[in-house]
């Protein structure tokens, strides 16, 4: 040391600086080149050891520190440390890149053909007849009606006699019945449920009910006849129930089922249990009342029968006709469904071809 002149010393100092700086640059280039061809974490680990390990060249540079004057040491140290940090960042960046590539490769292996079919998790559906029943029930519930059900095996008395259809009545012709015994039969309409309800109410309180259910007639099955079918009958009895109330109610039904633009019309008809009695037509939804094949050019489609309850029926069910009056109506559910959806054969409802049933999902 004593042999070095001052000039010598500064020369030496400059050489170290320059040398180390250059070496770092070279190393950095080498590192970048090495990283560029790295494919996995193991290789990366080797490179990390080579460039940043204890035996790495850069780690040797610090040994020169002692040869430097005190005031120079911080700058030198900083230079080397910064280089180490850069090297480390480069390696870590590469590590992330490799990780991502590895994950990408893994995910690629999981590629699915998104156009393939999903399994059938299809929901089932309520039978169309019950869908319509629910729809009509809900409409009437909203208007304050109760739903009443009753037995399908009925007595002649409740099915006929209390509805002003005594034995030998001409209208019994209209509904040839399936009998079980002399006095029991399969109900031909759900009207006996109305009678049962009135009897149960004891002639005292107002009645506002609808009665859905299965009914039976002695008909051979064909495209338009079925020995079993479905009815919804309604009954309102109170002191001031009018035929206009019936008209407003049935207009609500028609519009609920066939759309808000529908109109209805009443035509006189005959039922033993009501008087006056009417048949109710709704303007054809297909042609808007102009006349088409569906409505047989009339512009109207018959949807239900209705009327003011016959005094005899009220009386036989315990209601005083001097105080109470009311209206009743009956809807054929199959007929409604056939009209609404253009179903051509009533037997479809009972065949349960799933290609038929599954079309109705509402």
């Amino acid at each position: 040391m004593s042999s070095l002149s001052c000039e010598d010393f500064f020369y030496l100092l400059g050489v170290i600086h320059v040398n180390v700086k250059e070496k770092i640059n070279t190393l950095e280039k080498k590192l970048k080149a090495a990283l560029a061809s790295v494919e996995n974490q193991a290789q990366l680990q080797e490179i990390k050891a080579e460039f940043l390990g204890k035996k790495a060249e850069i780690s040797q540079f610090m040994k020169h520190m002692k040869d430097l004057p005190d005031e120079e040491r911080p700058a030198f140290g900083q230079m080397v440390n910064e280089a180490k940090k850069r090297f480390s960042d480069l390696i870590e960046a590469q590590r992330e890149a490799i990780k991502k590539a590895e994950l990408d490769a893994l995910l690629r292996k999981e590629t699915v053909d998104v156009t393939l079919d999903a399994p059938d998790y299809t929901l089932g559906s309520t039978h169309i007849l019950n869908q319509i029943i629910e729809e009509i029930e809900d409409l009437f519930i909203g208007m304050g009606y109760l739903i009443k059900e009753g037995p399908e095996i009925e007595t002649d008395e409740l099915n006929f006699e209390k509805l002003n259809l005594p034995k030998d009545h001409p209208a019994r012709d209209m509904q040839d019945s399936l009998y079980i015994g002399n006095e029991t039969l399969l109900r031909t309409h759900t009207s006996p449920v109305q009678v049962r309800t009135m009897l149960a109410y004891g002639g005292e309180k107002p009645v506002k009910i609808i009665c859905p259910g299965k009914v039976y007639r002695r008909d051979d099955d064909d495209a338009t006849h079925s020995h079993q079918f479905t009815q919804i009958e309604g009954l309102v009895v109170d002191k001031d129930t009018t035929m206009s109330d019936m008209k407003g109610t049935l207009l609500a039904v028609a519009r609920h089922l066939f759309g808000p633009d529908r109109e209805i019309r009443f035509r006189p008809d005959y039922f033993p249990f009501t008087e006056p009695s009417v048949e109710v037509d709704v303007t054809c939804a297909n042609c808007d009342g102009k006349g088409c094949n569906i409505c047989k050019q009339t512009g109207y489609i018959e949807i239900l029968g209705a009327g003011m309850v016959n005094d005899k029926v009220l009386k036989m069910s315990g209601y005083d006709p001097k105080i109470y009056q009311g209206f009743a109506f009956g809807i054929g559910v199959e007929r409604l469904a056939m009209l609404k959806y253009g179903i051509e054969d009533i037997r479809h409802f009972y065949t349960n071809d799933l290609r038929f049933n599954k079309q109705f999902k509402r």
Partner: protein, 787 residues
């Protein structure tokens, strides 16, 4: 009834009303018009005179006719065997279009020119049931050559076909229609009472009744009858009404019946065999041959017209063959009577014998019109059959002939209709209806006309006023009754069951309640039910009410599988019908993969698939645990069928269809279940319950047991629960193994136990002790050892 507008025009002036208007108004305010159609659509037809006739040179059966049609003489080829010279015939001129779109043109037939066609009635569109003619129609000599043939025939008519309801018997007569249409359109009406001069001949008849079923009977005697065809206009009107013309006498009785609604019957006096008419009820088993040549066996409901000894007519229904009017008839007894509707209806129904007469009598007639109808017929028979009629009419009439009055207040009228009719409007409607009335303040006292026997109560009168007012003029209001609507909890439950099953992928079906008696117990669990069988079934296959919804579901599966739909997962809410009780049941059927996974692997559908559906419902409706017990049922798999119980109550059953039974229906691997809905509902929770959610996770322990293969998992789990405290949350079998390392006759069950303590964290020691207890108990009770 088929209503001729020509005929109607005799009574009311229809000149300002189109047939379409008539149809519309009648439909809206009276009865449904089912059809409106012309009697014939044939046009451009004239009366022709066959001047000469020669044989066709090239065809044996054809004739060359020279026909004078007024303006000109046409050469027409005719093939009818009855064509002859000097006939008046119906000629379709070239350019005419006959019914069915058949166009008449100038043409050559076998080389000979033909300009037009000589027509038969059939070619004019008159159905063969209204005439017996086979060849061309020959007009009477009085027909004027060149005139419109359709007019001459009286076929220029339009028919209104009306469906007459039981409460409007007056609409079984032309007069009834005239009154109703006059009311609808506010028209004048012109119906004359019958008027004729009788002859000074004696009526030899004595008439009496032995039954109340015939309250009145009028009999006119006449002689000098000439039986011949009726005039064209009369024939045309009968054809328009759908009745076949026979001869003048029969036609006139039918004509008067159509006009007045009162059926009449003509007896050949010379075949009656006595001068006495006695009406009585038939003896049971008595026999009688009716006009239609059928031998009828009678009973006590049937009314017989007798000659004092033997029957001559089945009163109100049909005449007898022996006393029928024929071409030889010279003298007749003409009957106009009334009969009790009940008897006529029973007779007609029992004998399956409906006639124009029975149709009218069974609906109840105007009892005041009996004599007038008879007189009207006499009038026509004098005119068209040359009859000499005795002035004296033999009769009895036990009708009371009282006035029927109906009281109705304006406020009641408006109170029922919801209308706001005032006195003047109401009076005007009654005037149009021609109902005589008096009015005091606002109370009408209406005298129901005899022609309207259906009017009895104030409701009948409201109906009449309402329809003339037109119901469609009523306002649209809703009932003023305020009430709370809604489903009962059980009704809501049934909807929820449907929605839950739909969510589980099952489709609802509705099948017939009536099936073949032979199969009613095929799939039932309860065999000692007497099925309900119809007394009058339409067929054997719909003769008996079901006792389980499963028969229908099997049919549905077979139908669909047969059409290549292999995934059949269906349910039905139906009933078990017994005479005194109808029990609501849920039936379910599963066949084929539950969810089709297509290119991915399908889980097999087995017993546990359908059990899973049942358990899903149990869980959804929050029922306590079910127990499943093996059971043997006819037509079910002997080792894959169970009854479902709760607290010892049977809720239903579930199982696999026996492969043999399935094969009989072209099915295999079908799983079915039946649940008693009402019992199920009884155990369903009626509301939610809340428990605090624990902050700590549960702790689980797995145990593997080796035990006898015949011990069910259910038995083991039951024991586990029995020997645990409430800290055992649940226990599930997660593996069942038999085979290597397990002794023959044994099986291994791996069970996961899950523990939870509401009071705090579970101590390992507590769990260890409980598992130890459980294992000891299982060893002791079931000889189950830890593997």
């Amino acid at each position: 009834m088929k209503v001729s507008l020509n005929w109607l025009s005799d009574y009311i002036d229809l000149s300002d009303i189109t047939p379409e208007q008539l149809k519309h108004r009648f439909t809206i305010q009276s009865q449904e018009v089912e059809a409106l159609y012309p009697l014939t659509t044939a046009k451009n037809l004239v009366v022709g005179h066959v001047v000469t006739l020669e044989a066709h040179p090239d065809a044996d059966k054809l004739k060359i006719c020279s026909v004078d049609v007024g303006r000109e003489t046409l050469q027409i080829i005719c093939g009818a065997p009855n064509v002859a010279a000097d006939q008046r015939v119906v000629v379709a001129l070239p350019g005419a279009v006959l019914p069915g779109g058949f166009k008449i043109e100038n043409t050559k037939i076998r080389g000979v020119e033909s300009s037009g066609m000589i027509c038969s009635l059939k070619e004019l569109g008159i159905d063969e049931k209204y005439h017996a003619e086979t060849g061309i129609h020959v007009l009477p000599e009085t027909a004027k050559v060149g005139e419109d043939a359709i007019t001459v025939l009286g076929f220029d008519d339009i028919i209104l076909d009306v469906d007459t309801k039981p409460d409007r018997p007056e609409l079984l007569s032309m007069a009834g229609f005239a009154y109703d249409i006059a009311a609808l359109f506010d028209l004048g009406i012109n119906i004359d009472a019958a008027d004729y001069q009788g002859d000074d001949i004696e009526n030899p008849f004595k008439i009496k009744t032995e039954t109340e079923a015939c309250p009145s009977y009028y009999g006119a005697y006449m002689e000098n009858i000439t039986i011949k065809p009726s005039p064209l206009w009369l024939k045309a009107r009968l054809i328009a009404a759908g009745i076949r013309p026979i001869n003048n006498v029969v036609d006139i009785t039918n004509y008067v019946m159509l006009e007045t609604g009162q059926p009449l019957h003509a007896f050949d006096y010379d075949k009656l065999g006595s001068n006495e008419i006695v009406v009585r009820l038939a003896e049971a088993g008595e026999r009688f041959i009716t006009l239609d040549e059928k031998k009828r066996t009678l009973n006590k409901d049937d009314i017989l017209i007798t000659n004092g000894e033997s029957p001559v007519a089945l009163g109100g229904v049909m005449g007898g063959l022996d006393s029928e009017v024929t071409t030889d008839t010279k003298r007749i007894l003409l009957e106009s009577a009334t009969f009790k509707p009940r008897n006529i209806r029973r007779t007609s129904q029992r004998l399956d014998l409906k006639s124009e007469s029975s149709t009218r009598f069974e609906k109840g007639l105007n009892t005041e019109g009996t004599l007038n109808a008879l007189k009207r017929a006499c009038e026509l028979l004098i005119k068209y059959a040359g009859a000499k009629v005795s002035k004296d009419i033999a009769s009895f009439d036990h009708h009371k002939h009282e006035k029927r009055t109906i009281e109705l207040s304006l406020s009641k009228l408006n109170g029922v209709l919801g209308s706001a009719l005032d006195l003047a409007e109401t009076k005007d409607i009654l005037r149009r209806l021609r109902f005589p009335y008096t009015v005091d303040k606002e109370i009408f006292t209406d005298e129901a006309p005899a022609r309207r026997p259906d009017l009895i109560t104030y409701q009948d009168l409201i109906e009449e006023i309402g329809r003339i007012y037109d119901y469609n003029n009523l306002p649209d209001t809703l009932p003023k009754t305020v009430s709370r609507g809604g489903l009962t909890p059980y009704q809501l439950f049934k909807r929820q069951i449907r929605h839950a099953l739909n969510g589980l992928g099952l489709n609802e079906t509705i099948t017939y309640s009536l099936i073949d008696k032979q199969h009613v117990h095929d799939l039932s669990r309860i065999k000692d039910i007497d099925p309900v069988t119809l007394a009058n079934p339409l067929s054997e296959i719909h003769s008996t009410l079901i006792v389980t919804p499963l028969n229908g579901l099997i049919e549905v599966a077979a139908y669909n599988v047969n059409r290549r739909m292999d995934h059949v997962h269906v349910y039905e809410l139906s009933k078990r019908y017994t005479v005194d009780k109808e029990t609501e049941l849920l039936g379910m059927l599963m066949k084929g993969p539950y969810h089709n996974h297509y290119w991915q692997e399908n889980a097999p559908t087995n017993f546990f698939t359908i059990k899973g559906i049942i358990e899903a419902l149990r869980e959804r409706f929050m029922l306590p645990k079910f127990s499943y017990e093996n059971v043997t049922l006819d037509n079910y798999h002997p080792h894959q069928t169970a009854v479902i119980k709760i607290d010892g109550t049977i809720l239903g059953h579930v199982g696999k269809l026996h492969p043999t039974y399935a094969a009989d229906h072209d099915l295999e691997d079908v799983f079915i279940a039946e649940l008693d809905l009402e019992a199920f509902y009884a155990y369903a929770a009626k509301d939610n319950t809340y428990e605090t959610v624990l902050r700590f996770p549960s702790v689980s322990r797995d145990i593997a047991l080796v035990l006898d293969e015949n011990i069910t998992a259910g038995t083991i789990l039951e024991s586990i629960h029995e020997y645990s405290t409430t800290i055992l949350k649940d226990a599930h079998v997660f593996d069942v193994y038999q085979g290597e390392h397990i002794e023959t006759g044994k099986k291994s069950l791996a069970i996961r136990l899950r523990f939870e303590d509401k009071t705090g964290t579970l101590k390992t020691k507590t769990i260890d002790e409980m598992v130890k207890n459980i294992l000891e108990a299982l060893k002791k009770e079931h000889d189950a050892v830890l593997r």
